[in-house]
Symmetry: C2
Subunit: 195 residues, 2 copies
DNA sequence: ACAGTTGATTGATCTGTTTCATGGTTACTG
DNA sequence: CAGTAACCATGAAACAGATCAATCAACTGT
């Protein structure tokens, strides 16, 4: 069975013929992940990369004081995994968890690498995808270094208007690197200044 | 003329035959960059990606208060550019400057994309390179969110032991996201605690 | 319908890091 | 080889954001 959603997404950067579509599709495994359930865990090897068919997930690390830091949100049509573990096949430092009930399509690193040989255009797709992810990751790094908490929050609201009201505030706090208390205070201040 | 240093580097991930080596090499242009001279500038399009043959460069952004934030150091054998501008061919947000007199090999985006069609293995090389860069960029993001300034500094010393004594302290401060004054204080404290 | 957990708000206090100011070195450059 | 610029060290004061604690609201499973 072909998952149209993935094929449509691949089509944004490459065009595959029928056989290629089928070959690629055949390597994906569809999995359901209930809210708050882990898809991947720190210490284990992330054998797969996940494409989000429905729902929303997050990847995060836990620091030595037990605080969580969110690296990525993955709404519909995004890819998520512990990239370090996925490419090295060594134990992961990140956790990947469903924020809402979700459905994902999994592709193992082994299958991915084999597909790169069989369908070189797929390697191009992931090359482009990774280039774009690198640009956003670096941009976020610069934002974290240059902007105040308030600026990072308003940035976030502009970048993710879709999920802003669907997820707990404390997850947003963890993404923009402030405490939930401080985010609450910033929001209070913003409201008061607008009224 | 073939630049052996680049070919050796490519060989870490892919193997090219003689013709492929020559084809790839023919697309690079060798350029000298004097200390403190800019290779790329904010607002201009970064048409090229640079491979460092000798010397050391840095990429950085300037925030609205005029403060510099270093995104990357590029010692010998590293690649550097404003990735956003390079892949989109839109005006750059970053500056790339030589820290010491340097020699670099430039490859334009156009030539790179053409080479990807002619030598698919080269696309693999850059796919792997970009994957690795993404992992380090994300790791640095997490470090910036989880670690104290002192931990980030000692991290830096372990990661870049080679350049630690060759570059001004204020550049290190700008990379680990503290003021030069505070880095100086941390170093003073570390010295005192060791003696 | 209820107890128990989880998330948001708010206030008082605390801390790591910045800012500003000063003086001392080192190192280019004419 | 003097002059000036860039770099580094150190101290006092200020601040952004964290921590701690208390209260309230909103889900959760039963």
């Amino acid at each position: 069975m072909i998952c149209n959603q993935i094929i449509t997404n691949l089509a944004k950067h490459i065009s595959l013929n029928k056989e290629e579509c089928e070959l690629v599709s055949s390597r994906f495994r569809i999995v359901q992940v209930k809210r708050k359930k882990m898809l991947m865990q720190e210490g284990q090897i992330s054998r797969d990369v996940a494409f989000v068919i429905s729902g929303c997930l997050r990847s995060y690390s836990v620091d030595e004081n037990g605080f969580e830091h969110i690296l990525q949100f993955a709404p519909v049509d995004w890819w998520i995994t512990d990239m370090y573990s996925f490419i090295s096949q060594k134990p992961a430092f990140l956790n990947v968890e469903a924020i809402t009930d979700s459905e994902v399509a999994l592709l193992s690193r082994t299958d991915q690498l084999n597909l790169f040989d069989q369908v070189p255009k797929l390697e191009r797709y992931f090359r482009i995808l990774t280039e774009n992810s690198l640009v956003s990751s670096r941009q976020r790094l610069i934002d974290n270094m240059s902007l105040t908490a308030k600026q990072r929050y308003s940035n976030f609201c502009n970048t993710y208007p879709s999920i802003i009201n669907d997820i707990p505030q404390k997850l947003i706090a963890s993404y923009i690197d402030v405490t939930p208390e401080f985010l609450s205070k910033m929001r209070g201040e913003l409201l008061r200044s607008k009224k």
